[in-house]
């Protein structure tokens, strides 16, 4: 339990009264940062998988797949992440599915952001020009080959910047899991607040850390974009 481990960092009697040992609290917040990063990475992976399934489903030839994908996307975009998280954590156990806070968090975050990203996948695939599909037909490629070798490599590059934004939204949404008692950065900051009585330092620290993580994501995505854009000059207009 995080509160207990925090208690051992209380200032010892006799040594510097009224001074708070910040290093202990900082390590607590860093432990929370690890959980936040874990959630972000695992949630993003789930979101990515779901986004491709649902995004391709929405432009499928089969009406039933289109219908299912639309229902999923509208449902998860329509209800708030907060409600979904609470549903996963508090209601699913009554239906016989017990999830740990981490599982519930990854599930809710991944499915929620996946729904937004599915629309990105769909939009990017539709943005590839008709002539590319015609070229596929002319080269006698199968539908799968056409999608895999011609359409997706071009569409991925269109998706990437928006995926970056989605990942940042997911990072920000991870703070909500603190409300289902998962010890992420926000949760730990609240513990530090309640134990030290200091409010500015814990919250300013985690705001800074969240911002650094967001910057890292956006730099990472930009670097990936540059890497993937190589060799596509002249193909894209």
């Amino acid at each position: 339990m995080p509160p207990r481990s925090a208690r051992s960092h209380f200032p010892q009697h006799g040594t510097k009264p009224f001074m708070i040992d910040w290093s202990g609290y900082l390590s607590l917040i860093l432990q929370g940062a690890v959980v936040t990063v874990q959630l972000t990475v695992m949630g993003s992976i789930l979101a990515l998988i779901v986004a491709f399934i649902a995004g391709l489903g929405r432009i499928s030839r089969f009406a039933i797949l289109r219908w299912l994908a639309t229902a999923y996307i509208e449902f998860f975009r329509g209800t708030s992440i907060f409600v979904q998280l609470f549903f996963a954590y508090f209601v699913l156990p009554f239906m016989g599915i017990s999830l740990t806070p981490l599982q519930a968090g990854v599930l809710a975050l991944g499915l929620n952001v996946g729904a937004y990203a599915a629309e990105v996948v769909r939009g990017a695939i539709l943005s590839v020009g008709r002539e590319q599909y015609e070229a596929c037909t002319a080269l006698n490629l199968s539908r799968w080959q056409c999608m895999r070798k011609v359409i997706l490599p071009q569409a991925l590059l269109v998706m990437l910047p928006t995926f970056g934004n989605n990942a940042i939204e997911l990072l920000k949404a991870t703070s909500v899991v603190s409300l289902i008692s998962l010890a992420d950065m926000t949760f730990q900051a609240n513990i530090v607040r309640s134990q030290t009585g200091s409010t500015l330092i814990p919250f300013a620290t985690i705001l800074f850390l969240y911002f650094v993580f967001a910057l890292l994501i956006s730099f990472g995505v930009r670097a990936l974009e540059r890497h993937m854009a190589r060799g596509l000059d002249g193909v894209r207009t």
């Binding site: 449902f75 708030s80 409600v83 609470f86 940042i168 919250f203 705001l207 911002f211």
Partner: protein, 219 residues
Amino acid sequence: MEWDWNFVWQIFPTLLQGVKITIIATLLGSVLAVFVGLAIALLRRSPNRLVSTTTGFIAEFIRGTPLLVQLYFIFYVLPDIGILLPPLVAGVIGLGLHYGTYTAEVYRAGIDNVPRGQWEAAKACNLTARQTWTRIILPQAIPPMMPALANYFIAMFKETPLLSAITVLELMNQAKSVANTYYRYIEPITLVGVFFLTISLISVVVLRWLEQRYGRIER
């Protein structure tokens, strides 16, 4: 555990009170976001480099950090410097500031979309900067922004449950307190979900209408 309609009717009035607060928070937050967004968009265009880069950085920072933490910041840190805000006010300020940084981007796109000729014409007619903005640029820039702005207000509406973390008694908080009292989670949480889904589905229709009426901004 089974779904119990009697329980649903029993908790319905309590949840409706929460709905009221949720709607109030969204409306006030939207109004604040409209003004904060405009202020940020205008400050970012300031000829003074210091003003524009500082505003840009602050907006970027607010957009890159979670709303929940910002709410905690407003609710817990500001009292230390003597600003004690009631929970709902703190929540509205948080929502307004956070979404103001998003609407600022909408304003930016809208303003950039006004053709250069309009700026030049305003100059040729010898209008002051103030007149140029209020009479020429903004009246043309704002209508195409309507759908995008509405989109962010819907997003804000879906984030109002976060206010429960700073003890605002909105819908989610009412649902949680009901659930904790009777130890039944299925009905309250599902009802909250249904409520948000209903409003979102209605708002999709409204958005389509706005897009038809005002068109969209070309990005």
